[in-house]
Subunit: 155 residues, 4 copies
């Protein structure tokens, strides 16, 4: 991945453990088989192996699943720059599908465009990979909100 990543300084030195623990609590990620494959201050990579259960009517990866890993890539990119003890919620996202999703695995690369004290703006690009071939299948622009002093666990 050669996407340009601005350098951000994390507020929380333990951001990586905090992000990984939150991702691990997402039962939906385990359900579809996605994992957090890469992580740094202000960026993430979410990886999903192809499974027939995740396809739409023509056999491609369902657009909703593409959005699901892209949304997570954006959300945890933003969460990595937030302070300890906060919670995060998705305000909105917008996704363009660029090509049909057909590969052996899919990778969503998320990065922060602008971190904010309350709102963060992020972007993710999703790729389908098969052997040496990588196809850019979607691009997402997403807004997230930080909730200070709110546990990131079920109430």
């Amino acid at each position: 991945m050669n996407a340009p990543v601005p350098m951000f300084e994390p507020q929380d030195p333990d951001f990586a453990a905090r992000v990984r623990a939150s991702f691990a609590r997402q039962k939906a990620m385990a359900f579809i088989g996605a994992r957090l494959a890469g992580l740094g201050p202000g960026w993430t990579e979410v990886e999903l192996p192809h499974r027939d259960e995740l396809t739409q009517q023509k056999g491609y990866l369902h657009g909703g699943i593409v959005g699901m890993i892209g949304d997570n890539a954006c959300g945890y990119a933003a969460f990595s720059l937030m302070p300890a003890g906060c919670s995060i919620l998705t305000v909105e996202y917008k996704m363009n599908i660029l090509a049909p999703g057909l590969g052996l695995r899919y990778v969503a690369r998320g990065e922060v465009i602008r971190p904010g004290s309350r709102l963060s703006v992020t972007r993710a690009d999703v790729y389908a990979e098969s052997g040496d071939r990588r196809t850019h299948i979607a691009t997402i622009q997403e807004t997230l909100m930080m909730l200070p002093d709110t546990p990131d666990v079920p109430e």
Copy 2:
């Protein structure tokens, strides 16, 4: 559901069977447990019972799953007005999350705003329901493209 639905005339008198067959080919819908609960010319309802496997880190329905049923509600609303023998693809969608997804079941109501010869613009609203209580949890605006004379099945 009392959302105002403009009256559209379907081009294909057998649109309902065509939409139901296409929905049934979406393995991803069976995988998450969603079904096509209602259908008419230019509108659909997709229903999803709550399952813990579909939740995010705080126990709410994952935003990507919300997008997934909303995307489908939009797509099949548009597909219902398209001619027989065509295929459809999602160009893009944008979703605002309005409230945390927490209910016994979720309903996405999709409707066509403007049907077009190539591009259709649609909207969906997603609700969480628990007994008598219904919460509006998301609203989606989506663009779809009709591919004429293209089978809506795997190649």
Copy 3:
């Protein structure tokens, strides 16, 4: 206009004067010739007579101008439900162009979908009108943020 408008209770009894004063401070609205034609708790109408100076390369109303009046219709719909003494900013908006903008005048009707303590989600529909004919030319989904205790005037 028969768009369904949910009934909202304004927090500020003087919301109408506050919204009108803010709109009047927007030099850009005077510049293009737009005015606030209608206003209630949670909704607005912005009206713009056609002018050749506002067109794009094919003689239609420039899409950016369509966005401009739609953005304002959304923003002031949200602002009408906010408390006195606050300021508002646009977080993001997404607009679909439905038809070329060609009319004697244009009307953007904005309404609040969900008012929030910090974030509000709104929608606007823009119409081109010529005599008896009205064409739906755009639909917008927009997020706004309330800044408490911040003057809505230049610093």
Copy 4:
């Protein structure tokens, strides 16, 4: 500007003259004082000097004007890669405002993410500039449609 620009091969060797002529027909650009400051295959730069007539209620550049130059930057980036003799229309765009627009001039840099035979997906970033200082004020994701064999002039 150091944004990474993928290398695209234009279909029309005279794309630059074609884009400049189309931009020059946009009366709305002359009206606000914007000009096409840079252009290549798959990218553009639109520049706008600050004017008080273009401001909103707090004295910042109106968000609709930000969208207007961003929309144009996207549109002409896409148009540069299209064949001679076609026309273009904006399908939709989504813009996040990242910071208040306050500068001596504004620059919108647009680039093509994925050119398509019918639909193109683009992005623009808008900056406010004052002397040495540059602030990233908005980011836009936009879809455009090519209309083959359609004159790009008023009918």
